[in-house]
Subunit: 188 residues, 2 copies
DNA sequence: GCAGATAGTAGCGTTACCTAACTATATTGA
DNA sequence: TCAATATAGTTAGGTAACGCTACTATCTGC
């Protein structure tokens, strides 16, 4: 029952959650928090992941809720909806130009700016620590989430990239996108 | 427009917010996310801050919303409500024994455990970085939030602690509690 | 005192969120 | 090949979060 030296795990966890909320303080912009989250997700997810289920997983909510949020964004002209050619059950969501412009007004920018003012080394260190936490959490759930560049399924041969799971070639620029199927590399 | 080296501020911000949400993944326990947040707040706030407005500020929401969340917790036996002697307009909220026991099942514990598994030095570093971000955000808003031990209003004389703003003595144990009036020390 | 600020509540409408039920397509396997 | 099962997505219904406005009560400053 002795207090831990320095910061305890719970303090850290509270700090993290609190910061995540405070970032939106007094936002009130043109979209709700969930809608902003969806826009950010579809802006950064790769072509295998820009689906309703993908967002539901990322946002840790149900498909029903995700479906509702997506619908509101489609109706308001932020997302384009098309059927997947890979899977007849899936729909693919893509950002419209309007959505890309709107992302510039994302209330999260305030936090992003604050983070951008950190020393580059410190920022990288922070990101690394947060990702370590994320991977650890992801393990205990099904999901997890990260970019191909750090994914255990990525195969590289020379300058070519390939996803071993989907068995498809990846453009270099795609390796920085978020993927549903992300799994931390074991040796990482 | 060139990509920043390493992690950009926006990536970091997204990571942070995402982690804050993912921590609750599949929680679904006996309370909602807002209710857990309230319980945590009232467990950690000092006697000047255990009010509806205090929680509203901390949780970055309106007093109306905070009032509703608090009411639900009082009705369900998690919080005790009493009028403040210092200020006739205020009510003071205190956790019941049931609430303290319930906090053991806080879904945030999963993240807290993950954080607790980090190396102690790394954890302190992480907490420090997050607090730096928080202070920077707090500045641009009115609020801000932190513990007396790091507050600019704290005066210490020998082993005695005192809040210069409220002009009251503080018990040593109270200096680890959250305060509404927290202001980062200028020289920090 | 009186004006203006602040603490809290109440009511309204929108949205998030969950659950459960449902359709349609994929996958599995006997 | 065909039936069982799993998965993608939608819909409906209910609770609570959330912001807004309006309101009362108390406090603070002049």
């Amino acid at each position: 029952m002795a207090a831990e030296r320095g910061s305890s795990g719970s303090e850290l966890a509270e700090l993290l959650v609190h910061l995540g909320r405070a970032a939106y303080a007094g936002a009130g912009g043109e979209l709700t928090a969930a809608q902003w989250a969806a826009l950010r997700y579809f802006a950064r997810a790769n072509r295998f992941s820009r689906t309703v289920s993908g967002f539901a997983d990322y946002h840790a909510t149900t498909r029903g809720t995700a479906s509702q949020t997506v619908r509101s964004l489609v109706e308001r002209g932020y997302l384009l909806r098309s059927r997947s050619e890979r899977d007849g059950r899936s729909v693919v969501l893509d950002l419209t130009g309007r959505a890309r412009r709107t992302l510039g007004a994302d209330p999260l920018q305030r936090l992003a700016l604050a983070a951008g003012r950190l020393d580059a080394r410190r920022r990288d260190r922070l990101a690394e620590d947060l990702r370590a936490l994320q991977d650890q959490l992801g393990q205990s759930r099904g999901g997890g989430c990260g970019v191909c560049a750090r994914c255990g399924h990525l195969l590289r041969g020379g300058r070519e990239f390939r996803c071993g799971l989907m068995d498809e070639a990846l453009d270099a620029s795609e390796t920085g996108e978020i993927c549903l199927r992300y799994r931390p590399r074991p040796d990482d």
